[in-house]
Amino acid sequence: MSETIPNYRIQGATGDWEVVIGLEVHAQITSKSKLFSGAATAFGAEPNSQVSLVDAAMPGMLPVPNRECIRQAVRTGLAIDAQINKWSRFDRKNYFYADLPQGYQISQLFHPIVGEGAIQISLDDKNPDDKTKTIGVERIHVEQDAGKLMHDQHPTMSYVDLNRSGVALMEIVSRPDMRSPAEAGAYLRKLRSILRYVGSCDGNMEEGSMRADVNVSVRKVGDELGTRTETKNVNSVRFVMATIEHEANRQVDVIEAGGKIVQETRLFDPDTGTTRSMRSKEDAHDYRYFPDPDLLPLVLEDDFVEECRASLPELPDAKRRRYETALGLTPYTAGVLTAEVETARWFEALLGETAKAAGKPDADVAKQASNWLVSEFFGALNKLGKGLETSPIQPAGAAELLALIANGTISGTIAKQVLEKMLASGDAAGAIVEREGLRQTSDTGAIDAAVDAVLTANPDKVEQYRGGKEALFGFFVGQTMKAMQGKANPQLINAALKQKLG
């Protein structure tokens, strides 16, 4: 049933090279307070306004795990069918930096809370069940984020903002299962989609609440794994793909020129689309990991895990398949509507309202609603530079418009105009139709008169039509509709024309 993904190869001077990619994604856990303190976590707050005594590592302060952060990590693990480790433990990763008040990050090296799981990706938007691949997730662990240095506040000193210090992160570590930039992009988008469905991370890469460390190596097909480099903190899907593209080609060039890849940490420069060395393995830190003696092992009760499981929403793949089977949508439309949880939510609200207005089951109006959403509404919003989250129209308002089409009050053509006016004014569809007199007319007298006028004005074309040039029928429809300012019921125009021409 499912096709495999085509091979991605880099053509080198010595032959084809395969690229091996693994991603470590840092996802900020959605939670009102930090991993080990009660301080708030809102984005964009005044520097150092969300810092507790614990976050500032004052003498004698102790971490206490935040239950909500643990819950979100477990829910995320369950959402990717991962093993949940009922016994996990926090470790200290020791290093000195000004944005790290404790002098160590509390993380989970030895015993992560989530073990082996998997994420299914697809490279075919038209049919998401085709060209699929399963990407292994080795583990998810929770850890503290660091603060932020500000270098532009003082001529000779750097300032530290500790608002982010201690915020909870999930580190989601994939297996080195990806083989192309496209696969890595699909994995990241799918992961972000799942996180947003679950509600454990807002996936907002621009604000830094999701970022990826990109591990890349190259090898001749069938060879052992090559030496990898790790490009840190890449903060968009596009940049991750560019990192892989550049890094893989760079590595092939180095090897083919007789050089060796050194295991090192690199940085991606978005301005040039290239990576550069940050530090090599030789001067890598010795983090002196050891179990955090301030914290007891984290033991999860079965009930807690079950509560987490029960709280999971329908996830994107399941939802997409349900849209296909229960609502009869095409795989493509179902894929578009379920890729982002906000889209699915919007669609389901629209579907509910539309079905209610029509007094029909969801499945009967699903096609109309989904087609309108995908082919009309997204385009119109896009033109305004808006998305669903900033849309001036809510699902109930859109349902009103769809109902007007469905019950013949307006035609599809008029509906486009009404939509534009709704977006511009924020007014309701019905009000716009009444105010602007856009109601579709089924007045057969007026339609007949208009048809007669069109036929009278175009005797030559009537002649040609009757002579067999049937394509001209559309011309007569168009002329009649134009004469009636688009408001005539198209079925009635068709009928009148057929009768008078026939």
Binding site: L53, G60, L62, F96, Q102, G103, Y104, Y289
Partner: protein
């Protein structure tokens, strides 16, 4: 009024409660003793006004017929490892000199809530690392005790709670807080002829106590006798949601449960603690302790704690490992000392700050700890030490299947002279040999005075109990106390 300073915790509490004397009179008397004892260097800062304010509040409550608290009117000394809001908290380090926390440690807060007042912040070994108080940045505490040989050698008050032991022993306060990581309550108590108990790990919240080694640090009281320790411990203990390692158990009424009758109890005497070349006076005092407990009705059982000899090496891996990480926060960035040489970068600031802010012993332990956690050595040191720790806990668990408490000396010698061991860290570490095993196992353990050695210096006996059985420890301690009749005290020379 000087006789008020002869009173202990229970007597002061009862006297204030019955109106025999006022809390202010008590505070004034102790304030005067503190002021007159600057030579002993027991306090880093004194807070006579705090003591008086608390006393006035207690007197006012009494006048108003309100409850006075478990420690109403009792002024105490606070080890300068406990954060005290608005009062300098240094851990006896240059690093935190001048640091005034905006928060109060859980334990000190509980004591104030029970009506205690603060006479001052007590000196200690820097970051609680030491057994003689010689590592304090603010100069060593001098024990009030002197040898009976007529010499005036200044003696160590023990460590790290040496300010606490000296202050209680010299009648500068009726009780003090201590902390015990590897004997820091028990050894100084033994050196100065007072009582001190380290409860089960987790009984007292660690929140607001400057951390040395998190898995071992435990607060506890030091006082003149077992009853006073019980009263203090009741006020200091209790579950604290701010400390993940805090025990979520009710606090027993230890004072009310005190009972020196040891009939039906079994007392274990570990053969491994009988070491070659043991100090004869210490060995004799241990024998005396055995006889006293037998006299109190206990059955004496010889037990084996086979991994005892590995306890000290394991301790000196685990404690420095944790310390090396716990002390990383003192980096000059946010509070405390900052040494910023000209044109210094971040790394230079760290180096200069930590070089200037930490004393030699603290640096030694940070280096040891960093080494044992480093890549390639972790398994050989830290992992092995943790295994040893498990074996030591198991030794105790096995022993406690047959015995109720264990009796041992607190320290291998009586107090030594200042300077005598400071050049030899290993000799210094050996002083903790009897104290460390109970710390590694997280067990409640206390030291009570047993008598004087031939030099006229106090010796302590140590009682180790099952987890959570502070009552059993206190009761055995009380049985010893009743029979020892220890009334010796240092002659005032300061």
């Amino acid at each position: 009024m000087s006789e008020l300073t002869e009173l202990g915790v229970a007597a002061i509490r009862d006297g204030v409660s019955t109106g025999t004397f006022s809390a202010v009179e008590v505070a004034e008397a102790f304030n005067a003793n503190v002021a007159a004892a600057a030579t002993l260097n027991a306090f880093i800062v004194t807070t006579p006004d705090k003591a008086l304010d608390a006393a006035r509040a207690v007197d006012a409550n009494r006048a108003a017929g309100k409850p006075l608290g478990k420690l109403g009117g009792v002024p105490i000394g606070m080890k300068d490892l406990f954060a005290t809001a608005g009062v300098q908290t240094t851990a006896a380090s240059h690093m935190l000199e001048g640091f005034i926390p905006p928060y109060e440690s859980t334990v000190s807060g509980k004591l104030w809530a029970e009506g205690a007042g603060m006479l001052g912040k007590l000196n200690l070994d820097q970051f609680a690392m030491g057994s003689s108080n010689e590592t304090s940045y603010f100069g060593n505490v001098i024990s009030p005790w002197r040898r009976s040989d007529g010499g005036n050698a200044a003696l160590a008050p023990g460590g790290s709670s040496g300010g606490s032991s000296t202050a209680v022993s010299a009648r500068l306060c009726p009780a003090a807080t201590g902390t015990d990581t590897g004997g820091s309550i028990r050894q100084p108590a033994a050196f100065t002829g007072i009582s001190g108990i380290k409860p089960t790990y987790g009984r007292c919240s660690r929140w607001g106590i400057v951390a040395f080694a998190s898995s071992l640090d435990q607060a506890g009281p030091m006082a003149r006798d077992v009853t006073d320790c019980a009263i203090m411990l009741e006020a200091m203990s209790g579950f604290d949601p701010k400390d993940s390692t805090s025990l979520d158990l009710p606090v027993p009424a230890w004072e009310a449960g005190l009972n020196p009758d040891m009939r039906g109890k079994k007392v274990g005497v570990p053969v491994e603690y009988r070491m070659d070349g043991m100090d004869a006076d210490v060995a004799a005092s241990w024998e005396q302790g055995i006889a006293w407990l037998r006299d109190a009705g206990a059955t004496i059982v010889e037990i084996s704690l086979p991994h005892t000899k590995y306890a000290l090496p394991a301790y000196y891996i685990i404690a420095p490992a944790e310390a090396s990480s716990n002390l990383a926060r003192y980096d000059g960035v946010r509070y405390g000392l900052r040494d910023l040489p000209d044109n210094a970068g971040l790394q230079d600031m760290y180096a200069a700050t930590r070089a200037a802010g930490f004393g030699a012993e603290v640096k030694r332990r940070i280096l040891i700890g960093t080494y044992v956690l480093s890549a390639g050595f972790y398994d050989a040191y830290y992992t092995q030490a943790q295994k040893v720790r498990t074996l030591i806990s198991r030794d105790f668990a096995r022993a406690f299947e047959t015995v109720d408490v264990i009796l041992a000396p607190t320290a291998p010698t009586a107090a030594f002279a200042l300077g005598e061991k400071s050049a030899d860290p290993l000799a210094m570490y050996l002083n903790d040999v009897f104290a460390v095993p109970a710390s590694l196992a997280g067990l409640p353990a206390m030291s009570v005075p047993a008598g004087l050695n031939r030099e006229g210096l106090p010796l302590g006996l140590q009682v180790i109990g099952r987890p959570f059985d502070e009552q059993g420890v206190l009761n055995a301690g009380l049985a010893i106390e009743r029979r020892a009749g220890f009334t010796a005290r240092p002659e005032k020379w300061w």
